[in-house]
Amino acid sequence: MSHLLEINNLDVKFDTDEGRITAIDNVSLTLDQGRVLGIVGESGSGKSVTAKSIMQLNPGNTIYNDNAEIIIDGENVLKFTSKNDLKKIRGGKVSMIFQEPMASFAPAIKIGSQMVEQLMLHKPLDKKEAKNISIDMLNRVGIADAEKRFNQYAFELSGGMRQRAMIAMALSTMPKLLLADEPTTALDVTIQAQVINLMKDIIKEFNMGVIFITHDLGVIAQVADDVAVMYLGSVVEQGPVNEILKNPMHPYTKGLINALPDINNLDAPLTPIPGNIPSPLDRPTGCVFRTRCPHASQEGKEENIKMGLVEVKPGHWLDKCGVDCGKI
């Protein structure tokens, strides 16, 4: 069966003043229609770069490896060069929503005009049809007075409302794939709960595939079917969300869970992961997590191992090194 999205052996490097840094190292992921894949990990783990690679939104200093593939609907988007090709993904088959909705809206253009313009770029619609679809969509995401909002600017809306408007714009073109990068992180919890429920309904209704990026394991637990845990550009563990959160095996996944304050378990101590995330300029060789791992060996054999996921239980993928350390 072919997948909606297939990422194979993706490396992403950036040329910077301080040298070439590795942001993504050999990442492979698949996503099927109707599924939500959560990507979780700390700041700098490569979550956003992964999403931007799918949309081809990384800047000019980006270097991809030759054998990398990002296949959407049978086409490798990394081979896309023409504007027309890119149009098929950006705002066409793929839409992206962000933590800061102002990033999606031009400040000086009315929300409605932007929605209409985007729709007409991708669908054979006239202005009137595009307007009707846009207003329907604003209604659909729970915006009261949709016609009035259609004629307003993004800054005139409250934070929660803006987030809804951005979701409406992203969905109006009926994308097959939605990339959501921390879409609820900046919201108050009661508004976050509203937006999460809205997204769950819409994902079901439209039967899209979704990549949901967040650093919040609670949000992942509530919205995702599957989860990939990233650390310093590598996926270290991956599988169905219930399995990964209940039976985490990689020392990093366990570390994240142990550091989290759980409201249902107030007696549990908060255990930080020792040390600091290394700079991407000094990305450790071998196992990327070895400088902070409680199981790392004295003799430093992790310096030479090659990372890679292996299936340890049906559907549960774990970095090879994590398999070795599981035995400790």
Partner: protein
């Protein structure tokens, strides 16, 4: 001697607000008739969503916001400071005793200052030390208590990670040897692992240095873990206040219940639905009359009697206070 370090009595703080110079001046009541007592040695939590007045309350206690009504008393061992009538001379003393932890010292301070200078600045401004040597000693002492690498004192803060910068910020707040600390969203921007580390550090410093904290946060799970008493704010009012465990195991006000139910559970099988609140937080410029929560409350009555209720906390169980209207709606 009082067992409390801070008493806030019927405190209101209003700001003048004018949309442009032609429009009428309006008053925004950011904090409305607040009564709290902060016990010495406690980790007092203040939670609520954006615009609820947490920061304004914290700043009023530090003397950084003008008090419109009521008063704030700081009980030091020898004497009281009344923040309503405090003179600028007394204020100089008070600053040594009550300090704020910046959210991010890097954002607030000159990038041309070394870590040493950032931490030393309060000592110099408040003229606490008499020589450079004495200043250096104090800086090194507090830096090592905050588990900062002393080698790093000569460096500039931009080179540091979020967690290290937060330690710098804590060291700066503590260098004048204060007794009371307002920590306003001090872990909000940090990754979970660093957050755990900073929270543990705050707890440890509390024991070592006999500190009392007012810990302001929008994150209920964090507050539940570190605070021993918690007040929940909504639109300038405290709607519920209780010892942590009581509040989180037995929330009584409909807003507290909704907040708690909104925390996404890390257990994927626990899909218990959030109590969805209708609409958004009303603007503080134009708050609902009567019960401020009534426009979003799932229990608001059809006949609208909440329009006329007067808000105020009632003790429903020992130490567990709930707004009167919340008591009525059960």
């Amino acid at each position: 001697m009082s067992e409390n370090i801070v008493s806030v009595n019927n405190l209101s703080v209003s700001f003048d607000y004018q949309e442009n110079f032609l429009s009428k001046k309006q008053k925004i009541k950011a904090v409305n008739n607040i009564n709290i007592k902060i016990k010495k040695g406690s980790f007092f939590g203040l939670v609520g969503e954006s615009g609820s007045g947490k920061t304004t309350l914290g700043r009023a206690i530090l003397g950084a916001n003008k008090i419109s009504q009521g008063n704030v008393i700081f009980h030091d061992d020898e004497r009281d400071y009344d923040l309503t009538t405090i003179t600028s001379r007394e204020m100089k003393d008070y600053r040594k005793k009550a300090q704020l932890i910046f959210q991010d010292p890097y954002a607030a301070l000159s990038p041309r200052m070394t870590v040493r200078d950032i931490i030393a600045e309060p000592l110099e401004v408040m003229k606490i030390t008499n020589s450079r040597q004495e200043t250096d000693e104090k800086v090194r002492e507090i830096a090592s208590k905050c588990r900062l690498n002393l080698e790093h004192l000569r460096r500039y803060p931009h080179a540091f990670s979020g967690g290290q910068r937060q330690r710098i910020s804590i060291a700066r707040a503590l260098v004048s040897n204060p007794k009371f600390i307002v920590a306003d969203e001090s872990v909000a921007a940090l990754d979970v692992s660093i957050q755990a580390d900073i929270l543990n550090l705050l707890k440890q410093l509390q024991n070592e240095l006999n500190l009392t904290y007012l810990f302001i946060s929008h994150d209920l799970s964090v507050v539940a873990h570190v605070c021993d008493i918690v007040a929940v704010m909504y639109l300038g009012h405290i709607v519920e206040m209780a010892p942590s465990r009581k509040l989180f195991s037995n929330p009584k006000h409909p807003y507290t219940k909704a907040l708690l139910s909104s925390i996404p559970s890390i257990d994927p099988e626990n899909k218990s639905k959030a109590i969805e609140l209708e609409g958004e937080i009303p603007s503080a410029m134009n708050p609902p009359s009567g019960c401020v929560f009534r426009t979003r409350c799932p229990h608001a009555s059809a006949d609208g009697k909440e329009v006329n209720v007067e808000m105020g906390l009632v003790e429903v169980e020992p130490d567990h206070l709930v707004d009167r209207c919340g008591v009525n709606c059960g």
